[in-house]
């Protein structure tokens, strides 16, 4: 039993802004410690921003992440607008609605992406295929509105760069209508399936006290009973004019995180429908020219949680300091408590449950601690995770669950 093994997971994953390297210390089946190493893809964006003028920075920060690629430019614009006196005082009404619509469309596509990969990890490849199939029409909506499937280049200080055409509104409405049955399908598949429940419940628990101490944000916090959501706590865009709910669960396990994300997609559909219905006429850009000296803070509820930008201006046309904090920065650190104490077959799932990218785990290797000999690769670990699901299915068939 005391045969101690190191399991390194990582280091590269290209989808998210923070490639990670997880070194799991394992005794038998149990994870006893974890070392998280990041920085493999540090691009010095905060430093680069000091050499860009204010209008160039949105394009730069948009490239921090390809999945929540509108959250960073949005948070940056909010920070600059905070310096100018607040988004609501600067940005035209129509642009506020378009901003919120983009923000929520992005949440749907990001959560569907996560759901698909989580399904794949536990051996439910049908869920994977379905989730990604239904994600495609969402990306088509993005392409129609912004011209791009990702990295939308929609945000600028003082407004948005493209308008939503009247002809597009029925298409968007229909896309939302078509999405709801798909969400029903996922909700049913997850909530009613005894194997998924047995597999996800109790895995990778983050208690409420731990969530507070590790300062986690977004669905990771809300699944642990921490009732925070920037959209409600410090409303931005048109969100405070609309009716929607913050989804909070108490258990803090992978199941709770899954439920939070699935139910949030319904709220996003709801918000988008209200945006389309209430989209006011008018300008989409305030044409801001001068950024005075000062400092501002912008925060956006990205799909993974609060995305934070701090901007300082000395009155020139470039920021003297830009601080970016992506939500995963806080969430990934909490894996230190989430994964320790669990089994190795739950580790991939637990590390994935905070919604970092998954490519890292495909590079998982298991090393024997004494001679560093490789005993497992990434696919073996995923297979291990999928096998556990198969075993649960078998025991269910035999009535032993």
């Amino acid at each position: 039993m005391s045969h101690k093994v190191i399991v390194p997971i990582g280091p590269y994953h290209p989808l998210q802004e923070e490639p990670e390297f997880f070194q799991l210390y394992v005794e038998g089946e149990r994870v006893v410690d974890i070392d998280i190493i990041i920085g493999y893809n540090h691009r010095g964006i905060e430093k680069l921003a000091e050499d860009k003028h204010f209008d160039q920075v949105p394009y730069l920060v948009e490239r921090i992440c390809g999945i929540c690629s509108s959250s960073h430019p949005y948070a940056y614009c909010l920070a600059v607008e905070d310096l100018l006196g607040g988004e609501a005082n600067v940005v035209p009404e129509r642009a506020l609605y378009i901003r919120t619509l983009i923000d929520e469309l992005q949440r749907i596509h990001s959560h569907l992406l996560w759901l698909g990969l989580a399904g794949h990890f536990i051996g439910y490849n049908t869920v994977w295929m379905w989730a990604w199939k239904y994600r495609e029409p969402v990306l088509d909506c993005f392409e129609m509105i912004t011209g791009n499937r990702n990295n939308y280049a929609m945000f600028k200080v003082g407004g948005v760069r493209r308008d939503i055409k009247d002809d597009d509104i029925p298409v968007l409405k229909k896309a939302m209508d078509d999405l709801v049955p798909a969400l029903d399908l996922f909700r049913g598949a997850v909530m009613d399936d005894p194997v998924i429940q047995a597999r996800l419940k109790g895995a990778g628990i983050l208690t409420k006290a731990q969530a507070i101490d590790w300062c986690v944000v977004g669905p990771t916090a809300r699944a642990s009973g921490v009732n925070i959501d920037v959209r409600r706590d410090e409303p931005y865009g048109a969100i405070d004019r609309l009716n929607w709910n913050v989804i909070v669960e108490r258990e803090g396990d992978v199941f709770a995180k899954t439920i939070v994300r699935i139910l949030e997609m319904y709220e996003s559909v709801n918000i988008i429908r209200q945006c389309l219905k209430g989209l006011p006429p008018g300008e989409i850009d305030a044409d801001v020219r001068e950024i005075p000296a000062g400092e501002g803070i912008g925060r956006v509820e990205a799909p993974r949680g609060e995305c934070f930008h701090y901007v300082r201006s000395d009155g020139t046309n470039r920021p003297v300091r830009l601080k970016v904090r992506a939500p995963s920065y806080m969430n990934v650190a909490s894996d230190k408590v989430g994964a320790v104490g669990g089994t190795i077959s739950d580790a991939t799932l637990t590390l994935a449950a905070v919604d970092p990218c998954y490519c890292c785990t495909e590079r998982v290797t298991v090393l024997n601690k004494t001679d560093n000999k490789k005993i497992m690769n990434g696919w073996d670990l995923i297979r291990l995770s999928q096998e556990k699901t198969r075993k649960l299915e078998e025991s269910l068939k035999n009535g032993r669950l």
């Binding site: 540090h42 430093k47 006196g85 590790w214 925070i228 409303p235 400092e295 650190a333």
Partner: protein, 144 residues
């Protein structure tokens, strides 16, 4: 509802060197570096604010850290400013002793600006490569 602004001003008293309300939801206040643990304990442990992040900056006369705390019940945002004037040997108490959520950002500020965090449990590089030269802090002014 508890009025956080009043609670902070009352409890920290004359330890607040400067107080600025830039808008109804944005409060910036400055404390001496010796008082940062007390301020953070009050905000995080007693008043229940969430630690959002800290941001370091090199203003030419000093190194500056802003500790950002969010009061999520009403969206107020408190940024505690600390100025470290001794740029040759900047150091300050670590908040990671109070809550682990501060561990990573203190490592980052340490490697980017060269500010030492006293009492940090694991002050090693977070983002910079292993072969990045010692003593070269990329977010310092002299390094641009």
């Amino acid at each position: 509802m508890m009025i956080i602004k009043d609670a902070i001003r009352e409890r920290l008293g004359n330890k607040i060197i400067a107080w600025e309300e830039k808008s109804s939801r944005r409060v910036y206040f400055t404390v001496a570096k010796e008082d940062i643990l007390e301020a953070a304990r009050l905000l995080f442990k007693e008043l229940g604010l969430r630690f959002a992040i800290a941001s370091g900056a090199d203003t030419t006369e000093a190194l500056e850290i802003l500790y950002h705390f969010s009061y999520d019940k009403n969206g107020e945002f408190y940024s505690v400013r600390v100025l470290l004037r001794d740029k040759a040997h900047p150091e300050i108490d670590s908040l990671a002793r109070l809550f682990p959520g501060a561990e990573w950002i203190e490592r980052e500020i340490w490697e980017m600006l060269g500010i030492k965090f006293k009492g940090h449990p694991n002050l090693k590089r977070l983002l910079l490569a292993e072969d990045w030269p010692e003593g070269n802090y990329p977010l310092r002014r002299e390094s641009s």
